[in-house]
């Protein structure tokens, strides 16, 4: 499709994970999903603990997917940091937007609306 000789000379050297690793990660993802489901099912109290557990489990699942399925763990660190650092910025947006939302609901509680 393209005129340049962009042949892949490195990619074949990357770490190959044995099939067993994929199956184990798969199994782990099942377990973690089930755990987060039951955290909600049994309505773990207090509420903040339930939320922390759910977010924590989601983050572990995301880490497993990125590290093993997407092979980010065996990529060069230059790529790893390129992918993992910028999302901090969208977290900043989320933090401000959440703080703003609670401020708005406070204002609404105080002044109606």
């Amino acid at each position: 499709m393209h005129g340049h000789a962009d042949h892949v000379d490195h990619s074949e050297h990357q770490a190959h994970l044995p099939v067993g690793v994929y199956l184990r990660v798969w199994f782990m993802l099942f377990i973690l999903s089930a755990v987060s489901y039951f955290v909600d099912y049994f309505q773990v109290e207090p509420l903040p603990l339930r939320w922390v557990l759910i977010v924590l489990l989601a983050l572990i699942k995301a880490a497993l997917i990125m590290n093993y399925f997407m092979h980010l763990g065996s990529e060069r660190l230059s790529l790893v940091y390129t992918i993992l650092l910028p999302p901090v910025l969208i977290l900043a947006l989320a933090a401000i937007v959440i703080a703003e939302g609670s401020y708005i609901s406070m204002i609404r509680a105080l002044f109606g609306g």
């Binding site: 005129g3 900043a92 401000i96």
Partner: protein, 590 residues
């Protein structure tokens, strides 16, 4: 879309597509796509310019143009803002200069994924068509101002709150898709397709500017897309993301519980980085043009890159300084004022570097160089007035006044446009093989530059007087000082003069493309790779059978002991520098 001269003299190669349509319309060639972007953006920009004349005529000579009424004044303002910021500047600086220059400057044959590149242009064209279609639907185009704040932008009573705003939001969403496709190509090409010897720290600053700007665009446009989709949902499906309980023209809308501030946060998370999406490529172009025409290495090359990257990062955490007057959580003012003032540091670094590049240079006052020096001036004035607005206590009284209009027009409007002109005058010989006329160019520069100051500098004074922006007429405003009419008339005359100067520019482009003096291969005696192609106007694949190899950074100007005052990037060291040369200048041979 391609220039007629290019059509007449196209170089023929075996693997080049032969049909007219494949070659000049649905072309995969980054150079053709870059020219398509440039021509389309300039055409849309002309519409934006005419809209600004109509607004200025109304303000300077109220009632002189009978066709302007409050309704279409707000429509003009909305379209002028969006066209100039998004559809002209972003498109031309990323799509036009980025496409044309990146592969040539880093020694690649084309973009990484030419098909996606072509799609990027055609989706951009679609977004332009959707935008302009607003003028041909019942109710007319949206008059919700370019920031599109809900509830007012989608509620009845605002011009174009029916089909007009739908088309506008669709157009913005399509533009985001187009910019994403383009941005993916620019970033991937820069990272993965450089030629031998072209390390990142040997890239010209234009490429650095476009690269960082593309990264910023790729990460900041998504929230705009999100905000646009959500506003479209509010408008079409009756959701209440942004609309609280509200009474419009006597009827209570069915919405409840939405948060207008949420839209403003999402919009400005895009809107502020967008300023840098526009200004970073401009800074890159300015740095390259300045070093070439001052015959000196750019001062502080690494500092330039670091400051551009720092500006890119910081631009993401300053957005709420546009919202000091919006009624947001007051604590945010504290955070965002601090981060905003930090941006001044890398910006000032760049300004000092430009001034020190000029210091003791053998400056050639060519037209591109004049525009470059003009850029530094308007950037400094615009940037310093930005520091006023970054402080909450100063921003609050100034926020809804002409001070803000003067500030952002100088810092991102005029500055980026001057850089765009510098780039066009500088690379015109590359594109067409002919030089642009210097006399017409200098007339264009002086009228534009001095005119821009005449237009925007009085606005700072008007702002201090408390003259509110966004007003259609000041006839019934009791607090307007007596001299306001005279100042407004003067500003309008200056704006029309600046507009007329753009006609000189267009005439210059057309005349020079056909009749201009034939350019030689390297008319500015520049070092960067794009001037070292086998043909003056490179054909398909840019480099002939063999890619160039790079041995040095792009700023080896006036190297002591060298045979000439410039050493192109692809010249091996031994061929030029004599062993008896004086001390090695900083950066040589890097």
């Amino acid at each position: 879309m391609a220039t007629p001269a290019a059509a007449a003299h196209a170089a023929h190669e075996h693997h080049e597509p032969q049909s007219f349509w494949r070659k000049y319309v649905f072309s995969l060639d980054h150079k053709v796509i870059g020219i398509q972007y440039t021509v389309t953006a300039l055409a849309v920009g002309a519409i934006g310019l005419v809209l600004s004349w109509l607004m200025r005529l109304q303000l300077g000579f109220p009632g002189a143009v009978g066709a302007v009424n409050p309704t279409n004044y707000y429509q003009f303002m909305t379209y002028h803002g969006l066209i100039m910021v998004v559809y002209l500047q972003t498109a031309i600086l990323l799509g036009g200069f980025g496409n044309y220059l990146i592969p040539l400057m880093i020694g690649a044959r084309d973009m990484a994924y030419p098909t996606l590149n072509m799609l990027s242009y055609w989706t951009y064209l679609l977004s332009v068509i959707l935008l302009l279609a607003g003028y041909f639907v019942p109710g007319g185009p949206s008059g919700g101002s370019w920031v599109l704040y809900p509830p007012q932008s989608i509620t009845a009573g605002t011009p174009g709150s029916g089909l007009g705003i739908t088309l506008l939001l669709a157009s913005i969403a399509v533009f985001v898709v187009s910019a994403t496709m383009g941005g993916l190509n620019y970033i991937t090409t820069v990272l993965q397709m450089r030629t031998r010897g072209m390390t990142l720290m040997r890239m010209p600053l234009t490429v650095w500017g476009v690269f960082i700007s593309a990264v910023v665009a790729l990460l900041s446009f998504p929230p705009l897309f999100v905000a646009g989709v959500m506003l479209l949902f509010d408008h079409l499906l009756g959701t209440s993301f942004f609309i609280p309980t509200v009474n419009v023209l006597g009827t209570v809308l069915p919405h409840e519980g939405g948060s207008p501030l949420l839209f403003q946060h999402l919009f400005w998370f895009f809107g502020h980085p967008e300023v840098y999406v526009v200004i970073l490529p401009a800074m890159g172009i300015i740095s390259d043009v300045m070093a070439t025409h001052a015959r000196k290495p750019i001062f502080g090359y690494k500092a330039m890159i670091v400051s551009m990257a720092a500006i890119g990062v910081i631009s993401f955490i300053v957005w709420a300084h546009h919202m000091f007057a919006s009624g947001m959580n007051p604590f945010f003012g504290y955070i965002f004022a601090a981060t905003t003032l930090v941006v001044a540091i890398p910006s000032a670094m760049k300004t000092y570097n430009w001034l020190l590049t000029l210091w003791k240079g053998s400056i050639r006052f060519t037209t591109p160089m004049l525009f470059t020096i003009g850029f530094v001036s308007t950037f400094v004035i615009g940037g310093l007035t930005g520091l006023f607005l970054g402080n909450v206590a100063v921003d609050l009284p100034l926020h809804d006044t002409y001070f803000v209009v003067g500030h952002f027009h100088l810092v991102m409007g005029v500055s980026a446009i001057l850089a765009m002109f510098a780039g066009i005058y500088h690379w015109f010989p590359k594109v067409t093989g002919r030089m642009m006329n210097e006399t017409l160019g200098k007339i264009h520069f002086f009228v534009t530059f001095l005119g821009a100051y005449l237009v925007f500098f009085p606005m700072f004074l008007m702002g201090f007087q408390g003259i509110p922006r966004r007003y259609f007429s000041f006839d019934l405003v009791a607090f307007a000082p007596s001299g306001l009419d005279a100042v407004n008339a003067m500003v309008t005359v200056a704006a029309l003069a600046v507009g007329a100067a753009q006609l000189v520019f267009v005439a210059n482009i057309v005349w020079s493309a056909v009749r201009g003096r034939e350019a030689d291969a390297n008319p500015w005696q520049a070092n960067t790779l794009e001037w070292q192609t086998p043909q003056i106007r490179p054909g398909h694949g840019n480099w002939g059978p063999k890619l160039p190899e790079v041995y040095r950074w792009p700023y080896d100007y006036s190297v002591p002991g060298a045979a000439r005052d410039f050493i192109p990037q692809n010249e091996p060291e031994v061929a030029v520098v004599s062993p008896a040369a004086g001390p090695e200048p900083e950066g040589a041979g890097r």
